[in-house]
Symmetry: D4
């Protein structure tokens, strides 16, 4: 029987995750010390196949991780750290990451970095809001050519409905906290996406680019 977890005292690292779920535990960097990140990361890299992702990371964690693993890479816009001792083989299928406005790019990049570290090819498409619908129609064929489409949008979150109406591929909608006033930190976009009139749209938490990518990667690996 494989070792199921490693108890570090402050954390129980799940070392059976890659076997059960297809990819290792990802470290949620927020509220963790650089030392904790390095210690957990070391266990994952050793036990779970040589690939590590830290989301919601910060510069201090970057410095500490780099000291421990010289190939650690800091993705500033995505606020992610990655270490790829044994990179995953790239899949043939592609995942599109579309975002509605330039302000949604941090979340879109978190999705894209996650996808890449788990072995997916990514097609990035930026700034195709519904208020200029021709910008979306211009990329319809590129979207249809992908296996899954992640759509990142703030404000009213209308883009996933429009995308879903154009293609036959699953759409994963990511509401962002971009907006002001009655956007309520992304709630307006979240509700818009949950009530989408488009078929085949599912939704993740506000700003959860990682979650969308995890789902998309699972689909792309089928």
């Amino acid at each position: 029987m494989p070792e199921l977890f490693v108890d570090l005292g402050f954390a129980r690292v799940d070392t059976d995750r890659a076997r059960r779920c297809g990819f290792p535990e990802v470290i949620f960097g927020a509220n963790k010390t650089p030392e904790e990140v390095v210690a957990i990361g070391r266990v994952i890299l050793e036990k779970e196949g040589g690939v590590l992702l830290v989301s919601r990371a910060n510069e201090q964690q970057h410095v500490a991780l780099l000291a421990a693993f010289p190939t650690a890479k800091w993705h500033a816009r995505a606020r992610c750290l990655t270490v790829e001792l044994t990179p995953r083989p790239k899949l043939a299928g592609t995942v599109a990451v579309v975002c509605a406005g330039t302000s949604d790019q941090a979340v879109a990049e978190e999705a894209a970095v996650t996808l890449e570290v788990f072995g997916n090819q990514v097609e990035r498409i930026t700034d195709v809001g519904v208020a200029g619908i021709h910008r979306l129609l211009a990329v319809r064929d590129r979207l249809e050519a992908c296996n899954v489409v992640i759509v990142v949008a703030g404000m009213e979150g209308a883009l996933p409905s429009a995308v879903a109406g154009l293609i036959s591929k699953p759409v994963i909608a990511v509401p962002t906290s971009v907006g002001y006033g009655a956007s309520f930190g992304g709630v307006a976009a979240l509700l818009g996406m949950l009530n989408s009139c488009g078929s085949g749209v599912t939704v993740v938490n506000i700003d959860n680019g990682f979650g969308a990518a995890a789902m998309a990667s699972m689909i792309n690996h089928l």
Copy 2:
């Protein structure tokens, strides 16, 4: 000095409204007895120019009003009553009333009936949701030809953004209570519209077809 209001005891009817605001008081039928509707209606018809609109009306109010004013008309889908003793002259300009789905038609009809009784021509366009955007593109020129466009939508309320991005005319968005679950009785649509990425979109209360029409009529009369 004109008589400013008539005190009926249970109501103070504003008889100076048409002079001040351009159209007479409209009776909000909900919670009023048929007798109250008739009494208030009689004052408005006598003092304010011969045109009456009762919104959120019911069949009993219809029967009572018909007995008092044989030309009273019941608009069932719109839940409105109208009496036009001296119909308003029709304006040259047109107001479009667009709705996203077949379930939004009651609210759209309340808007359309209001517009007509106040002297506007109405262009009705039904069932042009964003999940089949070609249905909207097909009517773009008809919309641009109007002076104002009222857009009625439930669920995620994305249609006004798409419309506003296509035309140069003011868009008045009406969220409807159509939907279920996290539509929260129209809140999702309302928030979507308030956060519209389209310019020139303003919003009225959930299901408030009358309010949208009152605004549109004022604009059309400029």
Copy 3:
């Protein structure tokens, strides 16, 4: 160029949907008259491949549809109507539909019926709440054998997290309005699912069994 839609006056039926999105328009039965359902259904059956699904349907719509199409079938628990003039070929892959409690079955059945009419095989698993976790562990292998897992749960909505932690397949979570008090009609379950600590979980609207199935079917067809 194919005919893009048919304008019935009260509805513009999208007759290009199956080509664009992989399956025809589904009629949302709520707020539609039996006559409207039959008229729209006739267009879809003629133009879009011989398969029809009406969700949130009622008995009157059943009677009317049966008169028009003798093979129409009423799925009482799922509140769905189907007509399969030319049934879709069954896919090899299977979709699991798991529900947490016996009260969640109506929503689960809406998902299962949708999946079947679109050509998917369905594995139904009922009543595996987290308060008796051994009931879930007992079906782990059956879940892993499917391509996608739909998890339907009300109350605190904890089941998708537990399922996602056990398998490597995408999980689509459907919150239900089952519960009372601070469940707020499914909001507690919805929030629980959006905040799931499990990777690869996406969410649809409260009680939206159809939406989960549409997504799952798209994934299963990849």
Copy 4:
């Protein structure tokens, strides 16, 4: 066929907006770097008629824009940047911008600056709250003389109802985040305005002076 957009990589600038919607794209400055603002601004100025507006701007963006366009102007209270290489001709009609309290002036100025750059004359009226109704009655005739009235108010947001009851011109209500406690960052004012008992009142998002002005300018251009 005109060029529909310019793809800058990080943004797709809509260069067909002025033709379609009557005025060019406005840059929402929040979350954009000074370099992004300059690059997008350059495209808009070149392709869309020589007028640029940046809303929610900051000092750094001001410095960068001034280096590129020496006539760039910083409107500190409104937090807006404008460049007018080819100023729009002034319309004969006037738009009033009324605000309820001295704290609402930043939002009112965003509306006023937007109106002016798009060629409207503006009548500014400050501090006419409903708790001293004589201050409002004193300006009634000035309001009636305008084509549209924008009313900016925080706290309970009662001013638009009172204004709408006095005049025959459309009223666009802008709730502000001014207030404390149960004002909930402008939600109380927003709800008050959506539920206005005055006819002809429509509403924009909290603090959205720009949106109100865009609508008012469209109306004023009819």
Copy 5:
């Protein structure tokens, strides 16, 4: 020492309330059987001075109370029952009960009936919404002549601010559940009143005419 309460098993009737608080316990009729109302009422009438008020009462409770106390009186619009075996002496001072619209009258009547049974004179003023402010200015002197003013309003709840700005007497605001859509059952009015820009405005629960009257009566008795 006086008897502090009477234990009826299903209720502990506070028989020291009139001494401590100035008026006896009032029975909240909702969810009580007619028998419970009569039993509690009998204790209050015997121990607390011969005056009884049942709020939120219904017809069955009326019938039962009338059988026990032939002078029981049913106030249909106010949904209140009263028994006055020993009527309270009338105070010289008057309390005004103002309501914004005809639909707010049920709540206003609950306030008025409560005031009268506790010995206050009441001035009723109906239908003076802010959208026709001249209707309010016309009654300014009548309001100033009272000791306290209760203002009852639904929808946006703007009336208390306008009243408070005109007079020097305390204003008690009662939001009502009148409205639709984003009135959220009176929440919009409640928030409007809590954020009133008028000084000297306090607020009670939605539809709580009784609570406003209890406070006003205490003030009037000072």
Copy 6:
């Protein structure tokens, strides 16, 4: 190894619950058919020790259960059904169930019936709201004599704080949906209890008398 559950198709009955958790599964009656209740009940009675509780039950379920188990008992006010083939031995310790108002009694009875069927003695105390604090002080010693105190209250939910300040025993607070307007179906009481300034207060869901009793019974069995 004991049988862990019985699969009835529509339900998987946990038959290991009494061993693991101290008492058998309780049937939540809402949304279940009488046949389902009887079938599940039969399994529980046979496998889990001869005691059955159905909460949120109705009359039809009563009739069906009585036909199957002639000693089934209907607790109308508590909306509970019980069958005690092998009654649990009564513990020496007592649990108090206190309620603030007469309208809270249904929830209090659900707690009391649950406690009794699981072998606890119950002290019922009714109608001791904080507005007549002497009614609470009068029962202080009876409360201190119990092992646990369940406090049931609607409206502002202040009673648990007052109780907790008087005694040294754990207090379990049950908010009820009693109230109107801004009580929001029990939310006000729930928030009041969660924010209690009293130490040793924990809270269950709105109207969840059963949950409070389950916890209290566990404590009483320690």
Copy 7:
């Protein structure tokens, strides 16, 4: 006719307020520059009787006001500035200001300072929470001796109910933003107070000590 207001450009100072409402306009200091406070203050002091109150003030405003009016006084805990060129005569009646915890004192002091500048005597009572009810019972007679009682409380806001149940004087409840988690910045206390089971309780906005004092002063002046 008296001068009704003075237009300073950035503000219209109501100079008829003392005549209409009994006390002059109070400056809400938040969001105002020191220069604006001095300019508005000068008008009020000259036209409205020689007494000035600035609420939500800061140190810079203090310095500027002191330069203009050497007797200006800074009340640090209350965050208020006062100038009393012609102090109001003290009334015989007293207003009590009670607070539940030591953290509520800033709000209580805002109320107390307001009361004093408007000529009321104040009885301050601190830290009498319901979790130690004997602390409240100990001051019952001091409260009954006052004309009005202001009760300031955060967390669950239960104190006003307990106070109202003990005395015959009006109670004005002020919820504070003290608390954490599900206190939601004072919402829990606000809801608790609106749903108070005590009679004669009215409520003001969260942290609105001034508003409570304005009402109490009006009552005390009757």
Copy 8:
């Protein structure tokens, strides 16, 4: 008769609490000056048995308390200060404090420190989220061996349900503000716990480790 409280002017220290409720008043450090903490602490230590706990404390309070009581101890992670002049005897029974993720540890430590100062033994178990359910199953027996289990979790708050389904001991659930987006500062976890399908789960306020410990200690002392 014992002295019931000590009036320090800014605070009324309850000196009868240990007698009534089993443990002395705990100082809530937030918003208190170091001097206030020391003064209140001195009273409690002298009158209530020689044990002091300050929750939500800060470093300045630590320095001040250490100067007054050299044995004061600062628990940094728990943000608590303790002084144990006369430590309580340790009970035989143990309380488990389980937390779902490493980010929940601050709240868990507040609970653990509180438990220890009141004389309980504590079993700390960290990082046993439901997404790796084997980590929980591995500690089942350690949990069952305790008298009470406190479960601390953020995000979706599913852990208490899973724990309650495994053991026969009372579970006290503490939602934490850990999460982002639609976790709404702990609301998602709070709702999840209130709607737990597990029996015997009660809940405290978000981040209220102290409250859970106070309840658990009371139970452990029975």
